[in-house]
Each structure stands twice: as C-alpha cells, then as structure tokens.
Amino acid sequence: MKHLILITLTLLALSASGQSNYEKGMQKAFDLWSEQKTTEAANLFERIAQAEPDDWLPPFYVAQIHVLSSFSEKDKEKMIQHMKTARDFLNDAQRLTQDNAEMLVLEAQLLTAWVVYDGQQYGMKYSSKIADLYQKASQLAPNNPRVVLGKAEWDMGSARYFGKPTQLYCEDIARALQLFTTFKPAGPFHPQGGKEYAQQVWEQNCNQ
C-alpha cells in the first residue's frame, strides 16, 4: 500500500512538474508571439514539439506562425522558405491528430499562401483543393468559428471573382463572429483566436 501511494504520488509529482513545464513553455511562446517576436516564438514551439513528441499543438503553431509570416513577407525567396517550413511542421502535426478541423483550416491557409505567391501558377491548381479542405472542415466542425470564417472568406473571394453576389456570405461571417463569443477551446492552449480578424473581414466586406 505504502509503495502504491508512493508511486502514485511520484507519478503525480512528475506529471505535475511536466505539466507545468509544458504550460510555462506554451504560455511563454504565446507571450513572445503577441510581442511580435515570431522567430523566438516559433523556435520555442519547435523546442516544445521535440520535447513533447505526441502533442500536435506545438508543431501546429510553428506551422501557423510560418503561414502568417509568409502572408506578410515581401521577399519571394523568404516567402517560399516560410511556406516550406510550414509544410514540414504541418506534416508533423498531421501525423499526431486525425479528423481535426483546425488542421484542415491551416492547410487551406497554407495553400492560399501559395496562391498569393503566384496566382497564375497555383490559383488554378489549388483553388479546388482549398475549397475541398474547407468543405471537409465544416463537415467535421460546423460550429467552429475559424472554419466558418475561413470557408466564408474563401467562398466570398471566389464569388466576387466570378461577379456573383457576395452578400449571403456576410451571414456566415456574422455567424462566425457570434460563434467566437461562445466558442470553448478543448484546452487552454488549443486554437481560439481569430475574432479580431473576423471583425476586420466584416468591416471590410459587409459593413455598408
């Protein structure tokens, strides 16, 4: 009995200390990210990823940071580097989670980055794949605000391109905004952001 309790306590202590390291690390990475120290944030997520090889969140965030960096990068060579690094970590994260709508949305964003990089070459190639990813994501998680927002924004862009009315997608964006207020992430470090961006999309497209 004594030994059993001892073992249990030891395990608890160990896991508690592991947990706190993880929490500290993740919190620090998010802090760095919010301070615009994206390289440091990505590096820290990468370190956490190698220390916690079964957790999909750290590689997911490394990929997310590189996708966002590629959107803001002007230098085409660096854009490619960001997109390739994002792809590597996205692949790592994909191996650790199945049927995950957040992963599908991130992959759609990565392919969108390629379309931004060279629309002539990748626009035709990836547009169907992107639509397909959002379609699958909304089947898996119809009430995830990032899924609703991403799909609506993509569909709106396609509709505008073909000169079709875009107003009906504003309903989806409004719904996404609503969902952001009630969304409960699966854990403290699970994806939960995007509300500010949704607000921005609304202001730019729907607030006339």
């Binding site: 390289t39 590096n43 060579e77 035709m124 169907s128 639509a131 073909f162």
Partner: protein
C-alpha cells in the same frame, strides 16, 4: 511507519525541486556561418528538454539548464544543416558553432545541362504543368508544347519530337521511369501524329535534350520523362464536348487509394465535311481511347498502375506526282499499354523501386494493292535502388530488361512474306551524386547494356558538373555516350548490325531570378555506327551496314518572363543547328530534311481579368528545309522557303466549372511548304516535275466546352485545355 512514509515523500519532493534549484548550469556561445557572419534567430536547445533559446543579433546565445551529465545540444536554422554537440552539460560553455549550408535548400546549384523541367516544385522548371495544355499551337498535345522549347526542330508534317539534329526515333518516352514502346499514334505522309497520352494525368514532365542520366538508355538524342499524379486533389467528373469529338473522365478517392478513368472519342468526319482539306478522305480519322490510373499508398510506399488502350483508323487517297489517280492509304491501329510500379522506403535511407510495362500494338496498313500487318509485343522490367549516405552523397543503381517481339506480314496480289525479329536487351546502371557545396555538384554514372541479338556489350559513361557563378546564375557541363539499336523498320530486315552511338558534349549557362529564366546552351553531338543501306528504302534486298556517321552542333537559347508585364507570361526559344550526316541511302554527308538551321518560337499568354479569359498567341518560325532537286546536280542541295505559323487561342471561364475554348492554328494563313515530291521519270525535255508537300489544311479551328462536376462545385478544367 506513517511518519517515515511522509518524510520519504517530502524528501523525494524536496529532491525533485532542489535538484532544479541547485544544479543550474549555464550554456552559452555563438552561432555563425562559415565565413564568420553571426546567425540571428537560430534555435539552440538541449535535445528532449524544454531548455533552450534563440540566438540574438550578434549570434550569441545563453541559457540555464538543470540537466546534468552528457546531453546533446541541437542548433538549427532554416537553410542550414542542423548541428549537434554532445558533451557534459557543464562543459557547454563559450561554444563556437559554425553551421554548414544545407545543400538541400533552394539556393543549391542544379545539374541542369540538357534538361528542361515542367513541374511545380523545381526552381529550374521552364514550363509549368498547365503550359502543356494552354499553349496555343499545342492543341492539348504535350509533344506540341515541348516543340516550343529550344533544341527541337519544326517538322510540321510529322508531329513527333526531333531533337538537336536527331530523327524522331532518337527520343525515348518513359512513364514513371518505365519505357513506352509505341508513344505515338501511327499515321501517314503529311498527317501529323499526336502523343497518345492525355496530358492531365501527368504532373511532372522532364524533357532532356542531351546528357541525361545513366538510368536511361536506348536513346541517341533525348528522353522525355512523364510522371503520373501521385494523389488527385478530389473526386470529380469531367465532360468535354469538342468540335472533333468528346470525352468523359471520373476520379474516385478512398482513404489510401484513388482511381481515375477517362475515355475520349475523336472523329474528324464532321470537321472535314465542313472544311474539306487537300486529301480525299474515304474514312476520316477516328480514334477511341481510354486510360486509367490506380494509386494505392502503403505504409512506406506508393503503388501505381497505369493502363491505356486506344484504337485508330482512317482511309484516304493522297495526291502523288507519279500517280494521277492518287495513292490509296488505309490504317487501323490497336494499342494497349500497361505499366505498374511500386516505390518504397526501406529505412536507413534506402529506397527501392520495381516496375514493369507491357505493350501490345497491332497495325494494319493498306497501300494501293499491298497489305502490311504488324504486331509488336514488348516488355520492360526494371528495379532500382537509391541510398542517401548524407545530403551530400547519394547513390542510385539498378538493372532492367527489355524484350521486343515484332512480326510483320506483307502481301501483294499473290506474293506473301512473313518476317520479324526478337530482341532482348539487358542493362544495368550506377550513378553517384556528389554535392560538394551549394556551389558545386557532380554526377557520375555508368551504364552497361548487353544485346544477345547483336552479341554486343556497350558501356556508356555519363557525367555532369554544375558550378554556381552568382546568386542567381550557374554554369554546367555534361558529357555522355549513348547507344541505341536500330528501329524495327531496319531490324525486321536485318539483325546483323550493331548499336548506333552518339557522344554529347554540353555547356550550359542558366540565370533564374524573380520569375525570369534565361538559359543558353551550346552542344556538340557526334554520331557513329548509323545504319546505311544500298536501296532507296530498306527492303529484303538491301545490304545493311553500320557505316553511317554524322554530327550536330548548335546553340539553344530560352527566355521566359512572367514578371515584367502584369498578367502577361511569355517565352522565347531560339535554336541554331548545324547538322550533317551520312546514313540510309545518302551518297555523301548532307543536312537531313528534319534538321533545318534556325528555329524560333514565341509563346505568350495574357490573362484578361475582366473577361475571365486567357488569350494565347504562339508564333513559330523555321528556316527552310533541305530536299533533293534532281534537276540540279547534288544531293539534299535545295532549301524550301521558311515556315511560319501564328496560332491563337481563347479560354473563357463561363463559371467556375464551365470553360469555353476556341483556337485557330495558322490564323494568318501562311502557305507553308514542308518539301517537294519529284516525279520518278523526267518529262520529254528532261525535267523532273514536282509537287509541293503542303499541310493537308492550312488552318485548323477548334471549339471545345469543358465541364467539371465536383462535390464542392469549385474545380474547373482550365488545366485540361
């Protein structure tokens, strides 16, 4: 007891926490490039722990750790090789870390001599997969698109690839690394052929105009490598309605596998009824084709199966200077090709590939009163291995076997003849890639082939070297020996011959930056052991020898720019070729009719956003081709006038899934002449009359409507055009 237990726990927990407080070690140092430049933002950490940091502006790093003993420190940064340092933690002080360039990165020199790539992934890609189908003059034929690249000559009445002074038979085509024995639909004089295979099953095309890898043999001048798509994007159904026929396609996807099937039917009868051409068609060109690709992923590998069947027939009477009635020609062809291959990672950086193909082809030809029927059964099996010793040293080797069984029946009136040949070729190759640095790479290979038919062994050394001369430019050189057996047109009459041989010397300069590519390539190619014969055409009565020889030299220039003008993408190819050879029945060395001196192609694609349309123009110029004028002394001494062709196309995106496509070939209606046919006998005043060989029709119009039905309603067939 109880006290003891509690104290145990307290001591244990205390130990846990004190160990964290007491034994903090400091790890610090600097990370630089080879030349001493500090690296900012490198990730430095102890493997398997949370302890680490990023380097600062001056490349320095410093962090504390509670780990003890021997640990591994990892230092990583994009486009550099990750470095590890294993040591006692308390000795990891004042470290000076130098990161080596990652030679896998985009900045590394590429072995590019001779090779053109059409793919998404390669920086040196000169064509994009879409170009194959959106080039105005190509009419959806991948061979047509490749004819706009330098190194090819315009032989408008033939339709096949003629590379650097070589004839069409000197180019071999491979699908997923496995040879295609009968890549073109057979046709007759003055009716250009097309590649059999539909362009949208492939996503990578490599076209090498010389100096290619030891992996490929039985090609004197060129190889064209087609790779089928590994994984289709989504399930869809495609429907095409065209002025010359129609097609349907369907793709199904499952978790680990996918299947694509398509079928097409082409019939030129309605078109020829509306726009009669110079031939007198009894049965206009008709073709039915089906293709299928199945892919299955395994844990570490990918299995692909490809199958294609097509049947073609037509019958016509063609003008002939020696026969006022014209010459009747009829053709029926059945072709079946299947290819299966499996590529797998074996672990420890070994990769294996096994594959094979089987071809069955039957052709029945009727010319006037003669009937010729032939059957070809061919098999190719191949196995290859790759071992990556490091990013800098890679080894590739393998073995393959080709088997061909060819039989022909000839009958005219009462006479009848049967003949054919069987040919086996065994081959093995080995090749090493050495990447010394981002600036210098070398490939060295050797290929050996044995032919029991000729009782001949050939050895072909191949090598290429690339050196980076600047941030965006590089120079490469290549050398190789290439052997190819004579074609079935010769082997069916005589097998007492040797393999033909070429040697390639190539010097290539390439500049790639910011969506602009410039390439210039100079080459010299030496031909030996070409097949010569004593009659006008190869027959049973001919006496054959390997006494032919020749050379080809020239300069190929390519420029592509999709950056300078908004929505405009264009490329320009120019080739200068000087080639002479003595072979077949040539009395002396001469410039063959398929090797004209100057070829120019200009291809433009302009996207008009407000019209949702892509407008394409392609212009081709080819200097005059040689022919023999029997009214003057000499052999192949005369030249036709130059060839000109301007083609336009318009692809209109009606809706995301519906595309309307129009194209016109030779829109300005140039009167092109491919050559002349002279009478066999002179007229009373001693002159030989002649007839100009003109295209069957000067112009060609094409209208198509393409519709894709996919689950999410967004895919389109722009890439099918």
């Amino acid at each position: 007891m109880k006290i003891n237990f509690t104290s145990n726990v307290i001591i244990f927990l205390a130990l846990l926490s004190t160990s964290r407080i007491i034994s903090q070690e400091s790890i610090y140092g600097i990370v630089t490039q080879k030349n001493g430049t500090p690296i900012l933002g490198a990730n430095v950490y102890l493997e398997g722990t949370y302890d680490g940091t990023s380097t600062g502006v001056d490349g320095t790093f410093s962090f504390e750790t509670s780990e003890t003993g021997v640990q591994t420190l990892l230092i990583s940064y994009v486009s550099f090789e990750t470095k590890t340092v294993t040591a006692q933690v308390n000795e990891m002080r004042d470290l000076k870390i130098v990161l080596r360039d990652d030679v896998n990165s985009l900045e590394t020199v590429v072995l590019s001599a001779g090779t053109f790539e059409a793919s998404d992934n390669s920086k040196v890609s000169v064509l994009k997969p879409l170009d194959v189908v959106t080039t105005a003059s190509a009419l959806g034929d991948f061979v047509g698109a490749l004819q706009t690249l330098p190194g090819t000559t315009t032989v408008a009445e033939d339709g096949r690839l003629f590379v650097r002074g070589g004839d069409a038979g000197e180019t071999q085509i491979f699908i997923d690394g496995i040879r295609v024995f009968t890549p073109y639909t057979p046709t007759t004089n003055n009716i250009p052929t097309r590649g059999r295979y539909s362009p949208f099953l492939f996503d990578g095309i490599t076209f090498s105009t010389g100096g290619y890898s030891a992996e490929y043999g039985q090609a004197l001048s060129s190889v064209l490598l087609l790779n089928t798509i590994d994984e289709p994007d989504q399930e869809k159904t495609e429907i095409a309605a065209m002025s010359v026929g129609g097609g349907v396609g369907n793709t199904q996807k499952w978790d680990e596998s996918s299947l694509s099937v398509n079928a097409s039917y082409i019939n030129l009868a309605p078109y020829i009824a509306a726009f009669p051409d110079r031939n007198d068609w009894e049965k206009p060109f008709e073709a039915l084709a089906g293709e299928s690709v199945f892919r299955k992923k395994t844990e570490n590998g990918l299995f692909k199966w490809y199958g294609a069947f097509d049947t073609t027939n037509f019958e016509l009477t063609q003008e002939d200077i020696n026969d006022p009635e014209g010459v009747r020609f009829g053709l029926k062809n059945y072709n079946f090709y299947t290819n299966a291959n499996y590529g797998v990672a074996l672990g420890n950086k070994w990769k294996a590939f096994v594959g094979g193909s089987y071809t069955y082809s039957r052709t029945d030809i009727g010319i006037q009163a003669s009937d010729i029927g032939n059957k070809e059964n061919s098999v190719h099996v191949k196995t290859a291995f790759r071992k990556r010793f490091s990013n800098r040293v890679k080894w590739h080797f393998g073995a393959e076997q080709f088997v061909t069984d060819f039989n022909e029946d000839f009958s005219e009136d009462a006479s009848r003849a049967q003949y054919g040949f069987q040919n086996n070729i065994s081959a093995a190759f080995t090749e090493i890639d050495l990447i010394f640095s981002r600036n210098l790479a070398l490939k060295v290979g050797l290929r050996a082939e044995y032919s029991p038919l000729f009782r001949e062994t050939t050895l072909s050394p191949r090598t290429s070297l690339a050196y980076k001369t600047g941030k965006d430019s590089q120079v490469s050189i290549a050398y190789g020996d290439f052997y190819q057996q004579p074609g079935s047109d010769i082997l069916k009459f005589s097998t007492n011959l040797q393999a033909r041989k070429t040697q390639h010397y190539i010097l290539n300069y390439q500049y790639v930056a910011n969506n602009r590519i410039f390439r210039a390539e100079a080459y010299h190619k030496q031909y030996e052991n070409l097949v010569a014969y004593t009659t006008k055409m190869p027959t049973f009565d001919s006496s054959f020898s390997n006494e032919g020889n020749g050379y080809a030299k020239g300069i190929d220039i390519f420029w592509r720019d999709s950056e300078s003008f908004r929505n405009l993408d264009y490329w320009v190819s120019y080739s200068w070729l000087d080639s002479e050879r003595k072979y077949q029945d040539y009395a002396n060395r001469a410039q063959p009719p398929f090797a004209n001196s100057h070829n120019l192609s200009v291809v433009t694609k302009y996207w008009v956003d407000s019209w949702k349309s892509q407008l394409g123009f392609s212009y081709q110029f080819a200097s005059g081709r040689s022919y023999t004028n029997p009214n003057e002394p000499g052999f192949l001494q005369a030249r036709t006038k130059a060839f000109n062709n301007l083609s336009v196309n318009w692809a209109y995106l009606l809706a995301p899934q519906k595309i309307l496509y129009l194209s016109v070939n030779n829109v300005l209606g140039y009167n092109n002449i491919n050559g002349y046919q002279y009478a066999n006998t002179p007229t009373a005043n001693g002159n030989f009359n002649r007839r100009a060989l003109r295209p069957a029709a000067d112009q060609f119009f094409f209208v198509g409507f393409f519709w894709t039905i996919s689950e999410d309603g967004s895919d389109n067939q722009l890439d099918n055009l």
